[in-house]
């Protein structure tokens, strides 16, 4: 089942184009990471999916138009739009009462179970909790909702690495199953590399990369090359090169490069240790090429 389907999604704020014809398709049971630089249109795309903003183009979330059928959609969709959006005056017990009261798919016992694993006391107000605890509380509330789609927009911004790790661990272990779908955006891409099933890069309102993580792993290869072999390696047309400790680190795209195909991983191995790059490195490579292209076009 297709959970999100967008065709030619556009949104502009005055003369600023936030979404410039986005096409995307997310199937049930996927965990999609939407990665992009600041102002790339990530939040606008998510807001459109959540019915928080109007848009041009075609968009269906769980078969519904999120802008006109938002009230119905919110029974099946849940989101954490940002860290620290829980009202500061709210007590933990009140948060449980309220969500249990208004959400027909909320399992209070489950939320209490999640909270029992944390140090959060039921009588505390949100303002008395640390930033990490607020994120834990919000996640506990959201995970206890039996939603078909969960959208997380920078859910761990400003949290230390322990809380971030725990956040994604509980999301994977206690929440995710093949009937649910998660869309997440974050700048801390290293946190989610092993969480995602699908990866999308967005830049200047356009999707510039869209692949599954299996594809990512088979398609992109990173090789650290000795200086004397660098010229030979460069002949194989890496998509990106960077220097570290006097060596060149080259990133290859096995799909688009004409000289290479999947069998030619061994050809790269002669230069050194061939491995799957981090999402962050691929991101830098793709975004770097993007800006080169625009600069080239401008010249």
């Amino acid at each position: 089942m297709t959970v999100i389907e967008a065709r030619g999604l556009r949104k502009s704020f005055g003369s600023t184009i936030a979404l410039d014809g986005v096409n995307l398709r997310v199937e049930e049971g996927r965990i999609l990471g939407l990665i992009g630089p600041n102002g790339a249109g990530k939040s606008t795309a998510l807001n459109a999916i959540l019915g928080l903003t109007s848009y041009q183009g075609e968009l269906k979330v769980l078969g519904r138009d999120p802008w006109t059928e938002r009230d119905e959609l919110m029974r099946d969709v849940c989101f954490i739009a940002d860290v620290a959006v829980l009202p500061r005056w709210l007590r933990v017990s009140q948060a449980l009462d309220y969500v249990a009261g208004v959400h027909p798919r909320f399992d209070r016992a489950k939320a209490e179970g999640f909270l029992a694993k944390t140090a959060i006391k039921r009588t505390r107000k949100v303002r008395e909790l640390s930033k990490g605890m607020v994120a834990q509380l919000h996640l506990a509330l959201v995970m206890a909702i039996d939603a078909k789609l969960l959208v997380l927009d920078e859910p761990t911004l400003g949290l230390d690495i322990l809380y971030r790790k725990q956040f994604y661990d509980s999301l994977l272990n206690d929440y995710f199953d093949r009937s649910r779908t998660i869309v997440v955006t974050t700048h801390q891409v290293e946190d989610i590399q092993h969480v995602l099933t699908d990866l999308m890069f967005i830049n200047r309102g356009r999707i510039v990369l869209d692949c599954s993580m299996e594809e990512f792993e088979s398609r992109y290869v990173e090789v650290t090359v000795h200086p004397e072999q660098a010229t030979a390696a460069r002949a194989l047309k890496p998509i990106h090169e960077r220097q570290a400790l006097g060596r060149s680190i080259l990133l290859f795209d096995l799909k688009t490069d004409l000289k290479l195909d999947h069998a030619d991983r061994s050809q790269l191995a002669v230069f050194g240790d061939a491995r799957t790059p981090s999402i962050a490195d691929l991101f830098v490579a793709v975004m770097g090429n993007q800006s080169d292209q625009t600069q080239g076009a401008a010249i």
């Binding site: 807001n47 959540l50 928080l52 903003t53 109007s54 938002r70 009230d71 919110m74 029974r75 849940c78 989101f79 954490i80 739009a81 940002d82 620290a84 959006v85 829980l86 009202p87 500061r88 005056w89 709210l90 007590r91 009140q94 009462d97 309220y98 969500v99 249990a100 009261g101 208004v102 959400h103 027909p104 798919r105 909320f106 399992d107 209070r108 016992a109 919000h138 959201v142 039996d146």
Partner: protein
Amino acid sequence: MNTQSNSVSQSFEANGKAPAAMLATRPVYWSIRREFWENRYLYIAPLAVASVFLFGYLISVIHSPGQLRTLLVLDSAHNHEDISGPFDISAALMMGTAILMSVFYCAEALHGERRDRSILFWKSLPVSDLTTVLVKASIPLLILPVLVSAITAVMQFLMLLLSSLVLLGTGGNVAPLWANSPVLQMSLLTFYHLLTAHAIWPAPVYCWLLLVSGWARRATFLWAALPVVAIGGLEKIAFNTTYFATLVGSRLIGSTAPAASTDVFPSNPMTHITPAAFLASPGLWIGLAVAAIFVVAAARLRRYQGPI
């Protein structure tokens, strides 16, 4: 309620269907609870005013118990106003508190959630914008009149009890006091007056404030008052009349509401209330129609609004 509602939601979950009847009323109930969690002054302020007044009243009856006794031995009908004086003052004070709370509540209602970014949390739950705005409008239009009248009734009953104790202690007769202070009747009249003259009649003013609170980024009062000043000023300069300013002012203080026909204090038992005339007055329905437009506009506006 919690355990009960929880088991309800669980049993529905087990059935795997979303029941329409439950969805209609429960978000309303919990949205009202939310308003009282967020705005604790809604009950603290009237309770505080009532407590302070009670304390003052206690001092006055202890200080001069003779005064009350002298009043009571005189012709009771003649002295009704002297006896009911403190009761009228207490009712007036509570009504004033209710109006102040309503005005400040409306100016903040749709602003606070945008300022603290919590609108993103509220919008992640299946409570529609219209439900949220209607609940917020119901606070000044219905809930505060009920709540403040109830607190006023309890306060006046305690006042009666206090004076009776003092009278008994000093050997007086309490019968005339109780005869002249029909607490139940006064309370119902207070409620009627609060609801008609200070909630339903000024509904367009409250709903206008609500709408502006959902639109303005800051200085809600300024943006709410500016059009009134502008239109009023224009009218004054162009036609040398003040109809608009008078209209808004009288709506706000409820002075033109045709809710009673006698010119005595609204909770005085001598008041002749005219609910039929109130319901039949075009001003009421025009005002409610304008208020409804503001509420619907505020709900539409909330769809587009995010944190500020």
